[in-house]
């Protein structure tokens, strides 16, 4: 049974009365209305599968790791998912170090129910060798700061971490095909988990007297509340889990009302998470491309301090850091994700058959010309090139440009051509997000061109315009 250290911090009677009275006039002490959710801020760490979420003052970090283990006897074809919570004593004076207390166990189990029982994470795809080896996914949640509503925050953190986690690819080999080879990330790209839907937890707090309730209670409101209910729903309108562990009794109609409201909120939060994960994936794809890019240094004409920086970054393959790339900010690039990744894969395959092969295979004009882009204005492009530092490019195109640069074999050609492509790139950028696949194909085609050597300046301009100086390169 839990030690009641929560008693060590108690609100004074005045504070309690103040909160309750304010609620009667639909005011909350942090200025929100009863059904306002706090702002969710999601950040990702350096490794795959680590996420950090802030909901107001509440701060939770999640880490996902995977291990090959033997499966359970009654489920030989399924991997497992386990949630571990750690209530760090720095988060709240009532958290004790050591064994998790009751609320820690409850939080872990609520999130576990929401993820596992609702089949959000596909466990059958985690099977490597039926009956012998499966992947066991472990999610560790660390509570850094308790500002109220830990369940929701921890849930979002767990989801964000699971969405960005990549497990190593493994294949069967050996003489009898029973040996499992785990490929390191440098050899084969790690795979994401298959997640069918996103169960979002939304917590309501009920207050005794007036049948009032609020959503997303803060720490103070939690100390005053009579009961709480956490509803885990997904964006499809399914209820994945409900936890109302006693406390204040409420009418059934109020419960249904809460659930309906929660489903709306779940949709919002799902959008939020997807946005953040998408922008993370793009950044990751760029880093990956950089990591695997050729070590051939490339010379390029065209000055600019950026150029030199780029040179260095290419020379030092291993030491490349994401800081050299312009940081991708969190703007919504919703459907870019798949495109960029597909693009990356394509680029990688291109990389492997570099050189003569590619030149042989390449025939004719650009395979996909963007029919919607306007013709280029030479003067404008010259001007924009000149003002490279103050480029107005959106970060997407930056990322595209950077990717291009990593593979490009660049030869310098006419300024006009350079300028042309810059304008084209700019225009394509302006059709932001709609024709991403086309743009991607265009970019790849541009790359081809450069490798072939004809309109090589295309790539250079693309890069130059995006503010990233193309690396120096050798003629092939």
């Amino acid at each position: 049974m839990e030690q009641r250290l929560a008693n060590t911090w108690r609100l004074t009677v005045n504070e309690k009365k103040f909160i309750e009275t304010a609620l009667q006039s639909e005011l909350r002490i942090d200025g929100r209305r009863p059904f306002d959710y706090r702002k969710v801020a999601i950040k990702f760490g350096k490794d795959d599968g680590s996420a950090e979420v802030r909901l107001g003052h509440t701060h939770v970090m999640a880490f996902v790791t995977a291990q090959l283990v033997q499966p359970y006897r009654d489920r030989p074809n399924e991997g497992s998912l386990a949630i571990f919570t750690e209530f760090s004593p720095m988060a709240d004076p009532s958290f004790e170090p050591g064994r998790p207390g009751e609320s820690a166990v409850e939080l872990g189990r609520v999130i576990d129910r929401g993820l596992r029982e609702s089949r959000a994470v596909d466990t059958e795809s985690l099977c490597v060798l039926s009956g012998k080896l499966v992947w066991a996914i472990r999610v560790d949640l660390h509570i850094i700061d308790n500002g109220g509503n830990l369940v929701d925050t921890a849930n979002i953190a767990a989801l964000a971490a699971l969405l960005t986690f990549r497990r190593p690819e493994c294949s069967l080999g050996g003489e009898d095909g029973q040996e499992v080879i785990v490929h390191p990330p440098e050899v084969r790209e790690p795979l994401p988990l298959i997640i069918h839907h996103l169960p979002i937890a939304v917590t309501f707090a009920f207050f005794g007297n007036e049948n009032s309730m609020v959503i997303d209670p803060t720490h103070h409101e939690e100390a005053v509340m009579g009961g709480r209910m956490t509803a885990t729903l997904n964006a499809n309108g399914d209820v994945c889990a409900i936890q109302k562990a006693g406390g204040e009794g409420v009418l059934q109609s109020i419960i249904m009302h809460c659930l309906r409201f929660a489903s709306v909120k779940a949709g919002d939060i799902t959008e939020n998470i997807k946005k953040a994960v998408d922008s993370y994936n793009i950044e990751r794809a760029l880093k990956k491309v950089k990591r695997k890019s050729s070590s051939v240094p490339m010379d390029v004409d065209g000055a600019g301090s950026n150029l030199k920086e780029r040179q260095d970054s290419f020379v030092h393959q291993k030491g490349m850091s994401a800081e050299r790339l312009k940081p991708i900010h969190e703007e919504s690039i919703t459907d870019q994700n798949e495109d960029i990744e597909g693009e990356t894969k394509l680029l990688e395959t291109r990389k492997t058959d570099r050189g003569n092969e590619v030149e042989k295979n390449f025939v004719g004009v650009l395979s996909c010309w963007d029919p919607y882009s306007k013709g280029v204005d030479t003067d404008f492009l010259k001007a924009s090139l000149a003002s490279r530092g103050t480029s107005t490019v959106s970060k997407q195109s930056n990322s595209r440009g950077e990717k291009m640069s990593s593979e490009a074999r660049l030869e310098e050609s006419s300024e006009a051509a350079k300028v042309e492509i810059t304008e084209l790139a700019q225009v394509s950028r302006q059709t932001n997000g709609e024709k991403t696949l086309k743009d991607a194909q265009l970019a790849i085609s541009i790359n081809f061109y450069s490798q072939h050597g004809t309109k090589n300046a295309l790539s250079v301009c693309h890069l130059a315009e995006s503010g990233i100086s193309p690396p120096p390169f050798k003629h092939i």
Binding site: D238, V239, Q252
Partner: protein
């Protein structure tokens, strides 16, 4: 696997909206202030209440209300395979927390300040719905101990298998992987105090299932009231009234 036959019978021959046979008995543990045994089909649970008594851990004493503690454990022999660790695992901790908070909501704790009420619940036979049986047993035990309460708390579970809402799941139906809704209900106040659900359910179907579980709770409440009345009559006759 088929959980509801085409004729509408479940695996144990019940109808979808039929509860298992319930049986309650007061006064099973002589030493305790209040105790009860509650059976729902094959699930058998014993509850003992000690209190109100002096708080054992002074640091936890609350000056304006009673401290309620609860411990849920399953006997090693309660399930088919012998259980390794009946107490202290995460499921038991969570259920202890849930039962405590449910009972705490209906006990008039402000009438018993600086005291402690202990509720111990032990599962003797587990066949699905142990949580509900424990809450029902605890209610009976608290009433037997004479602790003032706002209302009886009764609990029942319901699920949704083969597109049918089923009342009072047993172990086989529970482990089918379908949704399982447990409701704790205050019948006189008509309020839901405990609500737990796992697995996925669309919202409108959930409403039906919750409604069904609530009806089950009301049926259990009627039965518990009868038991308590019977018990009171016996006490009266023993006292010669």
């Amino acid at each position: 696997m088929e959980y509801v036959s085409p004729e509408g019978l479940r695996l144990d021959g019940r109808r979808p909206m039929e509860m298992r046979q319930i049986r309650g008995e007061i006064g099973a543990v002589a030493k305790a202030d209040g105790s009860a045994v509650f059976e729902m089909g094959n699930t058998k649970v014993i509850a003992a209440v000690y209190g109100p008594r002096e708080v054992q851990n002074r640091s936890q004493q609350m000056n304006d209300q009673a401290l309620v503690r609860c411990e849920y454990s399953m006997a090693n022999f309660s399930t088919g395979d012998r259980m390794r660790k009946p107490k202290g695992d995460r499921r038991s901790t969570e259920i202890s927390l849930v039962i405590r908070q449910t009972m705490e909501a209906c006990i008039l704790t402000h009438l018993l300040p600086r005291s402690q009420i202990d509720i111990f619940v032990q599962v003797l036979q587990a066949d699905g719905g142990t949580r509900s049986a424990c809450i029902n047993a605890a209610t009976l035990a608290l009433a037997d101990a004479g602790i003032p309460m706002r209302d009886l708390v009764t609990s029942c579970s319901a699920g949704y298998l083969n597109s049918t809402a089923l009342l009072d799941l047993n172990y086989v139906e529970d482990s089918a992987g379908g949704p399982d809704v447990t409701v704790g209900f205050l019948p006189k106040l008509d309020k839901v105090t405990l609500l737990q659900m796992d697995a996925k359910l669309p919202l409108d179907i959930f409403e039906n299932v919750m409604q069904l579980a609530t009806e089950g709770c009301k049926a259990v409440a009627n039965y518990i009231r009868e038991i308590l009345l019977e018990n009171t009559k016996q006490l009266e006759s023993r006292r010669g009234l």
